[in-house]
Every structure is written in C-alpha cells, then in structure tokens.
Symmetry: C2
Subunit: 190 residues, 2 copies
C-alpha cells in the first residue's frame, strides 16, 4: 500500500532522511496522513492540528505543505497520537487517531505503543513489518469541527526593541522581551 505518492519503502527512506531514522511513529504517521487526505476534498488547502509533538509532526511535514514554520501545522500537546486536518475558515475536517482497540492483534505495535517492553527487547524489523501489514487498518477516522478561537490568526502586533537585550520582540509581550523577563533557557550569554 502506498503512502501519499510514495511506495512504503520510498516513504521509509524519506523518513530516514528527514527524521534521522526510520522511527515507527513517523511511519505510522504516514498512514495516518494518507488516510486523512483521502477523506478530504481534493484541491482544497487544509490546516492541521497535531495532538503530540512526538514523531507525528514529521510525517505531516514530509507528506504535506503544512510545516511548523509556515504555521499551517500547529502542535497542541494532548499526548494523543492523533491529527486533524481542517478547512481553515470553517474549521470542518477529519481527525485520525491510532485506535488502541485495533492494535490488539498486532502485538509488536501494541508493545511499542504502550511501552510494554524495554527498547532493547523490541524487534524493530517485526514492528516495521506489522506497521506495513496493518497499513491504515489500526486507525480510526472521525469528522470534526474546530473551535473558532483556534482558527483565528493571531497578530503579533508591533515589533520593538527590548531595552535589555536590544533585540527585536513583539511589543505585546511587555516592557521587555519574554526572555529578559526571566523565561529564557540561558545561564550564560557572551
């Protein structure tokens, strides 16, 4: 079964190239994206919400024009292995999630997903074989409508210079930039 316009093996190679390794989560994500797109009208543009930051966003970025940097992909971390494509003005679309009930018959997928085995005891080839054989059968698709507040494009407003670090930042963030307000990750900057 193909993933988007790629064969399974071609997609695995793309995952290795973009993500750094043939991560099971990204490969499963490929089937999820494929299933979602096949259930949406062709030729329209969709935004996407990804409900986990782990692996799944990369399947989206490999297979669609939606990236984290262009804002057409948003990550809302609910810790669920799910994604929703939706028409950006109306908010109507489809959600696809990895269905726990449907992986009962795929023991290596179940063990990986629920972390039932230490990583070194996982059989990577068997896991990959099961992901390939299961194809889109282990996911469930739903119709969804996204709340209006998530559809609005937030403007950052004016860009001004921070009086502390002298870099540009959105004025709406306060008197100084948020990093200079103490939220930054740096203990030393030279």
């Amino acid at each position: 079964m193909n993933i988007g316009s790629y064969s399974f093996d071609e997609f695995v190679d793309l995952v290795k190239s973009f993500h750094g390794n043939a991560a099971p989560g990204v490969i499963m994500g490929g089937f999820m994206v494929d299933l979602a797109l096949k259930n949406l009208p062709e030729g329209e543009l969709f935004d996407v919400v990804c409900e986990t930051p782990k692996c799944l966003p990369d399947a989206i970025q490999i297979l669609t024009p939606n990236t984290i940097g262009n804002g057409w992909l948003k990550i809302l971390n609910f810790g669920r292995y799910a994604l929703s494509f939706y028409e950006k003005n109306q908010g109507t679309g489809v959600r696809v999630f990895l269905d726990p009930k449907k992986i009962e018959h795929w023991p290596e997928i179940k063990a990986w997903f629920f972390k039932l085995k230490p990583k070194k005891e996982q059989d990577s080839q068997l896991l990959l074989d099961q992901i390939r054989a299961a194809a889109t059968s282990i996911y469930t698709i739903q119709k969804v409508r996204i709340h209006t507040q998530f559809l609005k494009k937030k403007s950052r407003g004016d860009i001004v210079i921070c009086p502390v670090c002298h870099e540009a930042y959105p004025k709406n963030d306060g008197e100084t930039c948020r990093s200079c307000q103490g939220q930054g990750p740096y203990i030393e900057v030279e």
Copy 2:
C-alpha cells in the same frame, strides 16, 4: 555565498518546496543556521532551540537533522528572531540572532522585519536581493550555555487509556486525557 551545501538559488528552491513559498524569514534563517554551524565543532551532534515559531524552524529542518518531530529542535516562543545550537549534555553552544543594528543599512530588510510597510507595498525581489547581498553580515553570534532544566529529557511515563475518549494518553496528565479535561480544540467529533 553558499547556505550549507547549497547555492543560494538551490536553497531558495528547497524553501519553496518545503515551506510552500520563498519566505524571506526562512531564507534569512538559512544564513543563520549556516553561521551557527560554522562556529561549532564538526562531527558533533547538537540540539537546537528556536526562539520563534515563525519561519525560522523550517530553515533548521531543511538544513540540519533537527526536526520538531524528533525532538532535537525545540521551539521556545520568545518572539525573538534567534536560534541556539548546543551540545545536548553540556548545554554549551552558540546563539545567532538577527541584529536590529545591522539591518539599518538594508532598508527593505528593515521595513519587512519591523513591519514598516503594508505587505502589498513590499518589493519581494529587492528584499530577496538584500537578504542575499547581506548574507551573514546582519546577524550576531554569541556563545551560550543552556540551563540544565532545558537539557533533561522528560519521560511521559506510562501510557494508559482515557476513560472518556478511550484513546491512549500519558497517565501523568491526570484521570482523563487533557483534551477530555476541556483543553481540546474540537466543538464536534463524530
């Protein structure tokens, strides 16, 4: 001047393909990534913090193995046009930011960055020409050390089934998944 292993024009084509259009921010980001990598030891692996979700993460994802889905790229939204590559155990590395002082001589870059002109009055070709001509000269590089708390890999702990939606979620999130706690973006799910 090259960007990574690409010519400027090749990089612009990659940006169009991945990001959907030749966004000035991603192209500038290419020079920023290039500058950072040239100031880090070769052959080591680095994690990266990006201080804005806008455009810059895509330059990182195009040019490095660091992606949002593999966790080697983290976005901490301070609204600053800056990124830091750092050795993932020690937290030492370099930060590169777009320096407001240095764009004074590049009026089209300045107008774009500070949103001084309506978008329709921007001269895209002139902006691109100035970005290319300025190359790495409009960015400043700093040595940084990242706080230990940002270096720790957070484990999600056990994965369990949510009693409301019957999907899998991290047990640490509470009695139900966070979407079922009311944080989800959906108004309808069928």
